[in-house]
């Protein structure tokens, strides 16, 4: 188990989520497990892994569908395979291959979708990955994960490697990702983390927007509004027990994600909430049903109100 402290959290945040996973998480696992493989569809920034464990590294070029087939083949030989590509192309172009090889045949492949959300916005709308959670969530037998920061991303790959089943991990942002966790904590797949307790609203966030949710709750606190903030790092299986408690104790639930408001975290929470007899109102914060202008991540998210100020304003307006 890797040590975690403030310095390490800051260093890993500089790597970004994908950098931390490849240069720290998976690299560390290979020290004790020779059956870990990293397969890449022309992903850059993997030099440390490639140079340290060249026999465990495979690059298939810009060929996401082929990558899934290669990964499934490696998994069929008893390997625990991590396969990485741009989230937009991984989850859309290779969807059928993921569905058949991972969902149906259950090959032990963990997908790492980097530059998820709008991190690669300057490359154009084709690089927006705002539907990956919806696409992956609908595949039976696939765990779907979304870490809040680099520390959680590393802990996530350690845990997901312990289970012999396929998974998708949504990795948003780039280098210098925000920091939510500065100390070690108990990470369990399927068990959300309550970061802050409040009474007026519950903000259920995922991915890098967890930090914005926390910052929004600070802004709201100054206005006398207290919010619970939850890091919902596992989209499937959803933490039903925690949601039951949230629904019983809050009159307003706000889901926040760097993803379409259709089919992602918001949809998952709403689907479960719909089974309850009494449940609070829900606000869906995410990418609305239109492509706005592209640009840097901050610019794009700002257009959709997906930052601390936007989240705080939305909650304040809805509590009036």
């Amino acid at each position: 188990m890797l040590e975690i402290n403030k310095r390490i959290a800051r260093t890993w945040s500089r790597f970004g989520l994908m950098g931390a996973i490849s240069a720290v998480g998976i690299l560390d696992m290979c020290k004790t497990n020779p059956n870990i493989c990293l397969v890449s569809a022309d992903t850059s920034g993997l030099d440390r892994f490639k140079n340290t464990y060249p026999d465990n590294y495979y690059s298939v070029g810009i060929a996401e569908q082929n990558m899934i087939g290669v990964s499934a083949g490696l998994a069929s030989e008893g390997n625990c395979v991590f396969a990485t590509a741009y989230a937009s192309f991984l989850t859309s172009r290779a969807h059928e291959f993921i569905r058949q090889n991972l969902g149906y045949l259950q090959y032990n492949v963990k997908l790492l979708g980097f530059s998820s959300g709008v991190a690669a916005g300057t490359s154009g709308v084709a690089h927006w990955s705002i539907d990956d959670l919806a696409l992956m969530r609908a595949i039976p037998g696939l765990i779907v994960l979304s870490p809040a920061d680099a520390v959680e991303a590393v802990k996530m790959v350690e845990k997901v490697a312990e289970v012999s089943c396929p998974a998708y991990i949504k990795l948003s942002g780039g280098k210098n990702s925000p920091i939510v966790y500065e100390d070690d904590y108990d990470f369990q797949i399927g068990k959300a983390v309550t970061l802050r307790e409040g009474a007026d609203a519950a903000i259920i966030a995922t991915g890098l927007l967890v930090k914005d949710a926390l910052d929004a709750s600070e802004l709201l606190q100054e206005e006398g509004i207290s919010c619970t903030v939850i890091d919902m790092h596992t989209i499937k299986p959803l933490d039903h027990a925690l949601l039951d408690r949230v629904f019983e104790t809050h009159s307003l639930v706000v889901t926040v994600e760097e993803h379409s408001i259709i089919g992602g975290l918001g949809g998952a929470v709403a689907e479960y909430k719909a089974t309850k007899e009494c449940a609070p109102r829900q606000i869906f914060m995410g990418i609305t049903d239109e492509f706005k202008k592209t640009g840097t991540r901050d610019y794009i998210l700002g257009q959709y109100g997906l930052n601390a100020n936007g989240i705080a304003k939305t909650i304040q307006n809805n509590l009036k």
């Binding site: 310095r7 260093t11 500089r14 790597f15």
Partner: protein
């Protein structure tokens, strides 16, 4: 610990090398000082001297000696 000892120790810990490898060492001269090792080194320097380095300085710190020069900006003298 003197500032020099702290400085050397940051290299030892950040790059996972021996103290006798530090003098004259440059970025990418050894496999350990790649981009990943570099960030580990920066983290160790920041912790050792209780500073937050600016991005330009992080990029410019490309040798043991250059680091000594850069740390002067933060009021740290390595004798």
């Amino acid at each position: 610990m003197t500032n020099r000892e702290k400085y050397v120790q940051a290299f030892v810990e950040g790059l996972e090398i021996n103290a006798d490898q530090t003098e004259g060492l440059a970025y990418e001269a050894i496999p350990e000082w790649d981009s990943v090792g570099h960030m580990n080194l920066i983290g160790c320097l920041e912790e050792a001297f209780d500073i937050m380095m600016e991005t330009d300085d992080i990029i410019e710190l490309n040798s043991f000696e250059k680091g000594i020069e850069i740390l002067k900006k933060y009021g740290i003298t390595i004798a």
